[in-house]
Symmetry: C2
Subunit: 334 residues, 2 copies
C-alpha cells in the first residue's frame, strides 16, 4: 500500500474488503479535496446496502460503551459492522482528553468490526460531509451495519444523525436537568430511546420522565407504523443489548414494510445534496480569497453592502467556475 | 405598534431606541424571509458600533447567571447592554425545560438592558444567521455592548461565537471530565477564560488544569499582543464580575491598539457572507422541491449521481434566479 495507487485501484481494493485500502479511503473522505472526490464518486454506485444507525446522546450517557456492546451483538448474527465515532468526547475518537480512554482491543481484533474516529477539532466545517462520505466507504466495502456515534448537539451532528435509517437516542440517569435539557432538540428525532446504566437506582425515574414527555405528545412518532420504544440497557451488566439490536432490526423491517424507507432515503439524499452544495461554496469561497472576496468583504465592513447582498454577488461570481467544472467532470464520472 | 408599519418606519423607530420596534425587528430577524431582509438591509449601515462579546460554555457552567451579573456590571458604567441567549439550556431562552427558570426581573426592569432569547429548537438551520441579524438590530439600536450567550458545541454556535469581537469561555469545577471534554473544541477560541463558581472547593483544580493546558501550548493565543487571562468568578458571592468586565474592555482596547480589530472584523464579515450564501442556497433548495430537486434526488437514490455531482447541477440551476433577484433588488437597497 506504500506505492501510489490510482483512485480506481484504491476503490477496487476497498470494494474487495481490503482493510488498508478502506483506511486510506476513509482518511481521504475526512480530509476532502478533489483526489478524494474522484475515489468517492467512483465508489458511490456501490453504496446503499448498509443499514445506517445513528447513536446520539450527551457526553456521560455511556453511548460509546453501548455502541461497542451493540456492535458485538450485531456481529454475533454474522454481519460485518462499521463504527464511526464523530463525537469529540468519545473514547474511540480520542477526544476525551481528560478522561480515561477505553481500549476496545477485543473489538479491534475482530476483522468483522471496523472502528474509525473522525477528528472534530479544527475541521468542524467539513465534519458532516466527511462523516457521510466515510459512511459511504464502509457501506461500499461491505459493512452491513454502520453505527455512527455522535454527541447530539449542533447542526453538523444533527445532520449526521439525520442521514441514518435508524436513530437511537441515549439518555442516562443522574446527569442532571441542565445536561438533559441540551438534548431536548434531539429527543424528537429518536426512532428508539435508550436509557443506559439501568442498573443504577435512579434509572427508573429517567425512564418514567422520558415516557411522560413522549406521552405528552411533545415528541410525536415520525412513522405511523412504528411506535418509538423506550429500552433500558446496562453495559456493565450486559442487559438490554440484544433487545436493542433486535429493536434496530425491527425498525428497519418496519421501514421496509410500510414503504417509509423510500421517504427516508429521499430525505437523506436531499440533505446530502445540500451539504455538498455548502461544501462547494466553501471551497469556492477560499479560492476567491484575495480577489472578489476581498472586495466584497471590504464593502461589508464599510457598511456599503449587507452580508446578504454580498453573498448574492459571490454566488454569481462562483457560478461560471462551477458550470465549467460540471462539464469538465462529466466524462470522468461515467 | 398594532398598525402595519413599513420596513422604513420600523427601522426609523428602532434606531431611535423604541423598544417595541426593536422587539418586532428581532422577531423578524429570527424568522427570516424577504420582509425581514428589507428591514435588516436598511438597518445594516447603522451597525458596527457595539462591542460584541460571545460567552460560551457547557450547560451547568453557570454562564447564564454570569451573563446577567456581567450585564449589570457593564450597565453600571452607563452603557446600554443587549443580551442574546442562543443557548437551548439557558433560563433566558426558556430551554431549561426540566430545571428551574431564573427570573431576571431586576434586569428586565432596567430599560438600559435588553434581553432576547432565540429559539433553537425546530429552526436549527437558521440559528446562526438569525442570531447575527439580531446582533445587528441591537447594535444599530444603540446597545453599546451585546452579550451573546451560547453553549459551545456545534458549527452553528461556534459561528455565532466567532462573530464576536471578544470571546469568553466559561468552565466550571466539578462538571466531570466527560462534560469538560465536549468543550475541547472551543478552548482555543477563548480571548478570556473564566472559571465560574470559584467559591467551590474544587475550583482551584479546574483553574490549575486550565492553566496547565494553556501552558502546554495546546491553545496558542490568537493575538500576539494579548495574553489570554484565566479569571475566577462567583456569581453567588459577586466575586470577579467587575474584573471580568474590565478584562473584556481591556481586550477590546488591546484589539484597537494592536490593529488586530481590523483583521477580526474582516473575519467576521467573511463568515457572515458565507453564512448568508448558505442561507440563500437553502431557500432556493426549498423552492426547487418537486421540480429539479426531485429529479436530482431520484438520481442520487438510484446511484446514478453522487450527492456532490447533484449539488453542482443544483448550483447551476439556482444561478439564474439569484442573478435576477440581485438585479431586481439593487434599487430597494439604496
Amino acid at each position: 500500500m506504500r506505492s501510489k495507487l490510482s483512485p480506481e485501484e484504491l476503490v477496487e481494493r476497498a470494494l474487495a474488503g481490503h482493510v488498508p485500502a478502506i483506511a486510506r479511503l476513509l482518511s481521504r473522505a475526512e480530509s476532502g479535496g478533489s483526489e478524494a472526490r474522484k475515489a468517492l464518486d467512483r465508489l458511490y454506485r456501490h453504496t446503499g446496502k448498509a443499514h445506517i444507525v445513528g447513536v446520539t446522546g450527551v457526553p456521560g450517557s455511556g453511548k460509546s460503551t453501548l455502541v461497542s456492546k451493540l456492535a458485538r451483538a450485531v456481529r454475533a448474527s454474522g454481519r460485518k459492522v462499521g463504527i464511526l465515532a464523530v463525537d469529540p468526547s468519545s473514547p474511540f475518537s480520542g477526544g476525551s482528553i481528560l478522561g480515561d480512554r477505553i481500549r476496545m482491543t477485543d473489538l479491534v481484533s475482530d476483522p468483522g468490526i471496523y472502528i474509525r474516529s473522525m477528528a472534530t477539532r479544527g475541521a468542524l466545517g467539513g465534519l458532516a460531509r466527511g462523516a457521510l462520505d466515510a459512511v459511504d466507504v464502509l457501506d461500499a466495502a461491505g459493512y452491513e451495519m454502520v453505527l455512527i456515534e455522535t454527541v447530539g448537539v449542533g447542526q453538523d451532528e444533527i445532520d449526521v444523525v439525520r442521514a441514518a435509517h435508524t436513530t437511537v437516542v441515549v439518555s442516562a440517569p443522574g446527569l442532571g436537568d441542565e445536561i438533559q435539557a441540551i438534548k431536548a432538540g434531539v429527543l424528537e428525532i429518536a426512532d428508539i430511546h435508550v436509557v443506559s446504566k439501568c442498573d443504577r437506582s435512579d434509572a427508573d425515574k429517567t425512564i418514567a420522565d422520558l415516557k411522560t414527555m413522549m406521552g405528552m405528545g411533545a415528541f410525536l412518532t415520525k412513522t405511523p407504523s412504528w411506535r418509538v420504544p423506550v429500552l433500558a440497557t446496562s453495559s456493565a451488566k450486559d442487559q438490554g443489548i440484544v433487545e436493542l439490536a433486535d429493536a434496530i432490526d425491527a425498525h428497519r423491517a418496519s421501514l421496509e414494510q410500510s414503504g417509509e424507507i423510500a421517504m427516508r432515503c429521499r430525505r437523506i439524499a436531499e440533505r446530502r445534496m445540500l451539504r455538498a452544495a455548502d461544501e462547494i461554496l466553501r471551497a469556492r469561497f477560499e479560492q476567491h480569497r484575495g480577489g472578489k472576496l476581498s472586495v466584497l468583504t471590504d464593502r461589508i465592513i464599510s457598511r456599503d453592502l449587507t452580508p446578504h447582498a454580498a453573498a448574492k454577488e459571490l454566488l454569481h461570481e462562483i457560478h461560471m467556475e462551477t458550470t465549467r467544472e460540471l462539464f469538465n467532470s462529466v466524462d470522468t464520472e461515467s
